[in-house]
């Protein structure tokens, strides 16, 4: 989950700190800011289904862009479920079945815990500078704050979202709103963020709202960051398959 979060955060820095920066400098600055050495965070995901809403709490440990471990804390049905990402591989462990299952192929397109995010969203967390070419489309004022409108086109093949449009706050350098498109130009997902706070010297949102635009009547998924800590020492043993069963 943290990877999605970081992925979205990345756009913040795409646009740079000032109008004087080139797009490349903005992207580089964004990657430098977002790709922290490590992160530990506790969060709540509120999935607004068509019938009811569910809140899923989890704790995440992330090192760089290759290692991530998630443990679900509640509700009871989800408690104890764990996920491990090692590079481009993703495993999940469910205490009900006591099985470690690798999620691959079309399963990666499935929703994470019924949310509006897919496993693919979790996997694609490489620095944006490696993935997209950015073009500035213009500026706009939203809720009294200046934003850039930035179009990002994929420069590598196989991405879930070959095209993105982001509305970036010029002060926070965060993509307050994003539209994620398929290659055909079809809108697949949207995201917004709010509750921006300064955390360890960086502006950081405390709430994201993701919406799968392909889901009819979808009310979106809220992701609320309760606690986050950057550059924490995390032992390598945290990212072992053996830990999934413990």
């Amino acid at each position: 989950m943290i990877n999605i979060f970081i992925s979205f955060l990345s756009f913040t820095f795409l646009l740079g700190q000032s109008n004087d920066m080139s797009v490349q400098e903005i992207i580089q600055a964004m990657d430098d800011n977002l790709n922290a050495k490590s992160r530990v965070l506790t969060s709540k995901m509120i999935v607004h289904g068509r019938r009811s809403s569910r809140t899923i709490e989890s704790k995440n440990w992330v090192v760089g862009i290759d290692l991530a471990f998630t443990e679900y804390l509640s509700p009871p049905r989800e408690k104890g479920t764990k996920m491990l990402k090692l590079g481009d591989k993703l495993w999940t462990y469910s205490p009900q079945t006591d099985r470690v299952i690798q999620i691959s192929g079309h399963m990666l397109r499935q929703s994470v815990m019924g949310s509006d995010m897919s496993y693919n969203d979790m996997m694609e967390d490489r620095p944006l500078i490696e993935l997209y070419e950015a073009t500035l489309e213009g500026s706009v004022e939203i809720n009294g704050r200046d934003h850039w409108i930035m179009l990002l086109d994929a420069k590598v093949k196989g991405l879930s979202y070959p095209k993105r449009r982001a509305w970036i706050d010029k002060e926070y350098l965060l993509p307050m709103k994003e539209e994620l498109y398929a290659k055909s130009g079809k809108l697949l997902k949207t995201s917004t963020m709010d509750g921006i706070k300064k955390v360890q010297g960086r502006w950081f949102p405390s709430r994201f709202v993701f919406k799968d635009e392909l889901k009819r009547n979808s009310k979106g998924t809220e992701w609320v960051i309760d606690e986050i800590e950057f550059d924490v020492d995390i032992p390598d043993s945290r990212f072992s398959k053996a830990l999934l069963r413990k």
């Binding site: 569910r54 049905r77 999940t92 079945t97 099985r99 299952i101 690798q102």
Partner: protein, 427 residues
């Protein structure tokens, strides 16, 4: 008189054997044909009803609109209460909840790591309830290839094709990977207890059957179901009655503005089944009708020929003083006796043939395999079906047509002059 005529018929083989034989064969063929067509039609509808549509079924309005996606987040809730209401309000049907879901089956190796995976279409049906008729209507005891039927919630039956593809056999454990009704990721272990073969074309290619209690545990669907299916107690699909029931139910229960309100569909509403129902009913009626008419013409002609053949005998009988009316009536009575005997034997023969085809069927699996992409659930084996009408349908061609033919031939009796009769006697 009847005894006298019967003796005459039996003693004169030309008056008994051939006519009875013709009536018998014609009646037997008509009965068998009708039984076979009924069987094919009902079998096709029942197969569809059992696997997918029910004779009628209830689901939420939202589920109906997205049914291709198996959207269990739009499932019916409080299904025990809904089923009870349906049972009380529509006792001419039996009602059963069902959960249909897709996912992946993950087969572990000895160390618990994934050995193989394959897509699965699973049905959670009521296999374990005391009064459930699911095992009967699915014909699971007959269709079980090996193993046994599930006895608890975490036991599953796999189609032979799915089991073969994943190299599974009875006793193996598989993990279902899917989504709960809240769209959350879920895994659930099932033990394979047997394999089955539906003989319904591609329908069971990826099929797994579990008890609905297991599906509810796996998908977090306590007292919920994708659909509630209704079947007539006789398992005969009556399209008119089903459509009437659907209209009545929807008028009372369905709210067009609420995607969670229940809505009923009849078998004809699913997957172009309406066209199929109309086409099959019309085609069957036409074919059987044509066959019946041909049979009647044959028997009528036989009665006619039989009467004409006996002109000499009739002339003699008139010459020795029998009245025309007496001769005419005796001929008709004879044809009634022949018709009845032929109809009785023909009905028995036709029913026997129909019963044989009802039990054994006509297997055309090879032809159905070539229709792998069809959306219709169609049986690989044609079975005939004995229906109540088969017991009396033979009377019309067997007795009435024979008698009509004789009556027509007998009309000549009244037209003949005595002089002509004596002339015929001389020859």
């Amino acid at each position: 008189m009847i005894k006298f005529l019967t003796k005459g018929i039996i003693r004169d083989r030309s008056r008994s054997l051939f006519p009875v034989l013709v009536v018998t064969l014609a009646v037997a063929m008509i009965i068998f044909f009708q039984g076979f067509m009924d069987g094919v039609m009902n079998s096709m509808f029942l197969d569809s009803a059992v696997v997918s549509t029910g004779h009628v079924k209830v689901m939420t309005k939202g589920y109906k609109e997205e049914s291709q996606l198996l959207p269990n987040d739009l499932a019916l809730l409080e299904t025990d209460q809904l089923v009870d209401e349906l049972r009380q309000n529509h006792p001419d049907h039996f009602w059963t909840p069902r959960i249909t879901f897709g996912g992946l089956l993950d087969v572990p190796d000895d160390s618990g790591e994934t050995q193989s995976q394959g897509p699965v279409l699973a049905l959670g049906i009521d296999l374990l309830s005391e009064n459930s008729r699911q095992i009967e209507i699915w014909k699971l005891e007959r269709r079980l290839i090996d193993g046994k039927l599930p006895e608890n919630a975490n036991e599953a039956l796999l189609s032979t094709r799915l089991a073969g593809r994943l190299e599974l056999s009875s006793g193996d454990t598989v993990t279902l990977i899917g989504s709960t009704m809240h769209n959350a990721f879920t895994t659930y272990n099932f033990t394979v207890v047997g394999t089955f073969k539906l003989n319904l074309g591609p329908a069971d290619r990826q099929m797994m059957l579990v008890d609905i209690s297991g599906a509810r545990l796996a998908l977090d669907m306590e007292n919920a179901a994708s659909e509630i299916l209704g079947y007539t107690h006789s398992l005969f699909y009556n399209d008119t009655a089903a459509v009437a029931l659907r209209q009545k139910y929807n008028e009372i229960n369905s709210d067009t503005t609420d995607i969670f309100s229940p809505i009923m569909m009849a078998l004809r509403d699913a997957n172009q089944m309406g066209t199929m129902v109309d086409y099959m009913s019309a085609a069957t009626g036409l074919i059987v009708g044509v066959f019946l008419v041909i049979g009647m013409i044959v028997l009528w002609n036989m009665g006619l020929m039989n009467g004409l053949r006996r002109y000499g005998e009739i002339g003699m009988r008139l010459a020795i003083g029998e009245s025309k009316g007496q001769v005419y009536r005796s001929m008709i009575l004879e044809s009634v006796i022949i018709g009845c005997i032929g109809t009785l034997i023909g009905t028995a023969l036709g029913l026997s043939l129909t019963y044989y085809m009802q039990e054994v069927g006509l297997d055309y699996s090879a032809a159905m395999e070539s229709l792998g992409s069809t959306e219709f659930i169609f049986s690989n084996v044609f079975y005939a079906q004995i229906t109540p009408e088969l017991y009396y349908i033979g009377i019309m061609p067997g007795v009435l047509a024979t008698v009509l033919g004789t009556m027509l031939a007998g009309r000549a009796i009244y037209k003949r002059e005595m002089a002509q009769l004596f002339k015929e006697l001389e020859t």
